[in-house]
Symmetry: D2
Subunit: 413 residues, 4 copies
């Protein structure tokens, strides 16, 4: 489908189709969405409008409730598939790949830290309503402060990054209860007076992710909705520490999607427009005979395949843990998965930056024209791969290889 996002919304391409019922079917659906997103990704990136249409497209395609329970209308798919869908969406538009990936994590947050009742309630709510999640929990900022007011908790404060923000229906908050060390997560409706987005996300890439700051003023939840608290005390599971490896593999998958998108755009341009170089070596009539183009694309494609293969392995590994009994998870299992994901993260970082830079050499001088917009891949990859230092990911894998040590769970990586 070579229709734009707006055209797709008007024509409701999936309205008359049966919903996919298999992982393969959902991947095909994601590929259709990616194809639509790719058509005007550069233009939409430049306009940097609130990506309401894009999120609506994800909803229409059924992807927002991919992990939701079947009984409430969700697709009931696994994280293994979710990761591949994130990658596929990102191959069409890196920003939207990030949005759907973060959404899956926030939608799963209640499973990570909530009680069984809370899980049941949140999953029913978001699945039946086809709700999209945002979040404001970046741990390098100060925590929000929480005060008690009778049976309610009141959140206040400010966060620098709140991916999803404006186009979300629900927002995940995190704060610390005044006078305690208790971190408390809450899921609240995004549309409310006390949540004000600052519209200050003006970065090099991933421009449509609405990742700007937010102020939280007197946002209230009942104590009963404090995720994972029973009688005002936390119930802590090792399972909750899966949050970091889970989101890190989300990152890696949209980096890989960006790389895939870049490779697709580069080869398409080279096939259609790149001219053979008139000097040096054998007579060549087309760019397809240029050794350096063939070798160059071969190198990038091979690197990408390898990183994807490892990402798929790691996705299978952590999916097993995420879908198993929450009580059963051991720190060793968590640690092993985290190390493998740390490895994927490095390779995805490397290949996405490499593709983002090299496709220019493998297309030619005229591809640097802004009319082509080939820089979107480097900008997107470069921006989010800075989330946390990749050098520390190498170090983590090294600690495992050399010292047989698994990473300590932290709040950030």
């Amino acid at each position: 489908m070579t229709i734009t996002v707006q055209e797709a919304l008007s024509s409701s391409p999936w309205a008359d189709q049966p919903r996919p019922t298999t992982a393969a079917g959902w991947l095909d659906r994601a590929a259709e969405v990616a194809g639509i997103l790719a058509v005007d990704a550069v233009e939409r990136d430049r306009a940097q409008a609130v990506p309401a249409a894009e999120v609506q497209l994800l909803k229409d395609a059924g992807l927002v409730t991919l992990l939701g329970p079947v009984e409430h209308g969700g697709a009931g798919q696994t994280w293994e598939t979710a990761y591949q869908i994130i990658r596929e969406i990102a191959s069409g538009d890196g920003s939207i790949g990030q949005l759907i990936g973060y959404h899956y994590l926030w939608a799963w947050a209640v499973r990570l830290v909530g009680t069984p009742d809370q899980i049941a309630a949140v999953e029913e709510l978001y699945t039946t309503q086809n709700f999209f999640f945002g979040g404001a929990v970046n741990p390098r900022d100060n925590d929000l402060t929480i005060t008690e007011d009778g049976d309610e908790l009141v959140y206040n404060g400010r966060k620098s990054f709140s991916t999803g923000s404006k186009i979300s229906d629900l927002t995940v908050l995190e704060g610390v209860l005044e006078g305690t060390e208790k971190h408390i997560f809450a899921i609240v409706p995004t549309q409310q007076e006390g949540i004000v987005f600052l519209d200050d996300w003006d970065n090099l890439g991933q421009r449509l992710t609405e990742s700007g700051g937010v102020t939280i003023t007197d946002v209230r939840i009942p104590w009963a909705a404090a995720a994972g608290y029973v009688d005002k005390e936390p119930v802590e599971l090792t399972y909750g520490t899966l949050n970091l490896p889970t989101i890190q593999l989300v990152f890696a998958n949209f980096y890989l999607g960006i790389a895939k998108g870049g490779l697709k755009a580069g080869t398409a341009y080279a096939r259609e427009k790149t001219r053979a170089w008139p000097y040096g070596g054998d007579d060549k009539e087309t760019a397809g005979e240029e050794w350096y183009l063939l070798e160059g694309y071969g190198r990038l494609q091979s690197q990408l395949w390898a990183a994807e293969a490892l990402a798929d392995d790691a996705g299978r590994e952590i999916a097993v843990l995420l879908h198993a009994d929450r009580e059963a998870l051991t720190p060793e299992q968590r640690g092993h998965a985290a190390v493998r994901i740390a490895a994927v993260k490095q390779l995805a970082t490397d290949v996405s930056l490499e593709v983002g830079t090299k496709i220019f050499e493998l297309t030619g001088a005229r591809a640097s024209s802004n009319a082509v917009g080939l820089d979107i891949f480097w900008r997107n990859a470069r921006t989010h791969t800075l989330h946390d230092p990749v050098a520390y990911k190498r170090r983590e894998v090294g600690e495992y290889a050399l010292l047989n040590k698994i990473p300590e769970p932290t709040w950030y990586t």
Copy 2:
């Protein structure tokens, strides 16, 4: 088990054990063999004796008939498992990993080009007898010449490389029938007057592979044993062109095994002997606190995992083709598998050389002592990765990525 090959042969470690029945069980068995091989791999490499004991160990462990039919006493496993076993064996001893890998290919040669009757006969023969294969078919030499003598074909000529040679029970020959363009493969007993090995394999690495030259003088087979010929005419299947991708993935897997062995040796040395550097940066008491060691091993381990993941994917893909109906294979299926394997080959080449060189930096100056013997990994990797130019593998993948072209089957890569 930290016993040497000789000790293992004497003690028959698997004599009283039930044979494995699953892929996982066979991989454990291979890991035991690899552990034994690793104990004195450096010493055996330097002595460069005919690896008769090593091959006997493979036979005793049941690995030689891994792909053989269950009804004749084989393990009836798939190529997916065979590839992982090659890698595992090579992690203990790169030469022996090459030998078992080539053996699997030669043992499968009759399936690639033979008639159903020939397949049945050869598989029964080698499986019941626990026979080991060698071959003398390097296509960069001249072909052997074949002359007809009544109902027999007579092979003559010389080949520069015949991996396995002396320690094989059966040898695969290939020649061209005089006055025709007919290439004819034959499987003959190795022990016969007309087959003389030249003992001239003196190379940098993979020193125990018996890859020297051979002269073939009046070696006879009945016409009926001419692989794939019916009434003296060839029956050609696309299936036969799987030979190259199948062996190329054999290569890649023993390269990965060499890398794995190198990483294991490097980290073991670093843990036990490397001292913290006395200058610069923070106080460090042990090598395990050195950032550069952690980051360095982390980088290598991550690269290795990714290449292994892609190798496993490619192994699954080609195993499906190798074990399916021979008539059904299409050139497109073959081509797609070949491209993926071309990608694996590159990454396995890169990571095995990188590990072979970098483990020195990640152990320290004293590790360059010949008493340590850490150079075996670089020597082994460097030697066989030259089999055919890796640059052409990048080009093949590039033709696929850029031009959607699949590789033409050739006799060599």
Copy 3:
């Protein structure tokens, strides 16, 4: 000096100073100019106004007549110094580094192909008038057509790229005389009706170079001004083939300048704003204790120094040829210089792209904010390094190393 270009123009910082008389003095002057350009390089790049002020600054600083004869008020410096000045200027602003570099080449064009009389006339003209050169001779377009009209030559046609264009005083044209194979260069006043700039340079980087297209309509020169023609026939010297290596080393030097500017910006940011990473490894209080930052900058700085050292060597080598007797130059001398420059070009390409990408990892996530504008270095490097395929430069050096072959002079690389 932390004043902007506009402030510098108003305050005429060099009006009361004696002109430099040594290479070192001119380099100091260039460093002052670079410092001024760096202050608002990002803002000026975004505004993409015609760089009239910037060129005026170069004129005021005396840099435009650096190579001009002393007797006409020029500085009489050598190309060795000119190259270092290009690099220095580019460290402040990549676009302006390109402009001054192209200017030096165009100003030298009359020496490359002109007659002694033409040389004398053009050098007096541009030096006394402090004129700035542009050019419209990109050889991958069709040549301009030239027709004869009595004693005049009339140029017509269109060129896709004309670096300098609007802000130049003189423009170098190149065309082919109708019905012949004669290529004829001419130097004409830029301000004339027949030269219309298309204002269509909208590229990723080097945005202030005014490198858009131009149409040439009936632009006339007297036959006597046809560069290098005597009695309407060309006088050809090997010396003229120095054009390509000379400009290629111009390129390499402004790439190196871009790298230097990027490293300066990255380290400044890291010193002032980057925070130590809160997890993993030893306690660190400042970013300056982070091993990965130190090692990362150390790697980039080392690569840059090496590329600069080779650039300086190559600059000395070609300067000797450029300033020697024009008649004496041999193809071997030209070829040797060209090969060395091909090597510089590769290294300058690699290091400028590497710096452009890595400085982000060596500053941190917040440096991807557009308020910082750190992407200007990657954009500038990525854009012009596409001028001609760097793979062919490696090939050229390889032909020299392997086959002892020197590059054939061409019109483009």
Copy 4:
């Protein structure tokens, strides 16, 4: 000259020639020596005999007294030239390049730490006698112990590495005076009962450097010969801390020589023996048409040139300091030179390993035969580049680039 070392010794090739009087002349002389060494470098490396003939060749060629005073028959050349000669010699034989390099440092040791009288005496001694230096001062071992016995100092102990050892005429010792913190250097005749070499240097590469251990038993010097001591108290100069950067640049230059030798051997083999690859791409008749060979050699040659250019720059910089007034040197000057040399070291390490590995890919499978011996370059480079961790060199340059910090002088790097 394609004569072996033994043939050269017999024929005394320089006996009838005037001694060179310029740096260029000495470099030509070194190139002749390198040519002789290269003829049978592989064979001599394998035999690993004491390199007496090789050192005699250096003496005959006049290279041993290159830095010696003209008045005593030395060539009176500078360190700038010495470094280039080390590199040149190492291009013929890495071991001998190391020997001459260490010799230059030991011959200069008396200038680094001695008194004017001691300098005069030692320089006269070694220059008039054409003496070769060895040393046993590796600081990662325990220091030798020194006891006072009247007017004499008595050295005892053991050192793990004593490059030069057996083939030296003079040996530099270092120890600590019992009951003090005084480090005292001494220069003693190698041939004496108390100095016993252990003949235990059996390493991967640099096999002819006689770098094994040594025991020192009651080796005596007069107090007056304690280098740099006046009235039994040390006279300390910043100049003495030049020892480390001086030797580090020695290292870098013989690494570069090894790379140069490898590139020479690789291209020679490829020109003479490598065949064009029969599949893929255009018809090629010779290896010289293979794009991957041309690009591969081009890349290596370019990297090597850049590292050499930086080495030459650094050589000029430190030579100025080494030949200037000893009292005048400031820590800042020393530090700046040390940082530049730290950069050279990295690049020389990288390029020598890269060449050592890649030349195999750029020659082909048969080049892995031990009859070719192409592995000598990787072995030599790999062995000595482990001397101290190159990661710390990157860190040093990073501290300079990021923090404007110069390296603290240490005893080792």
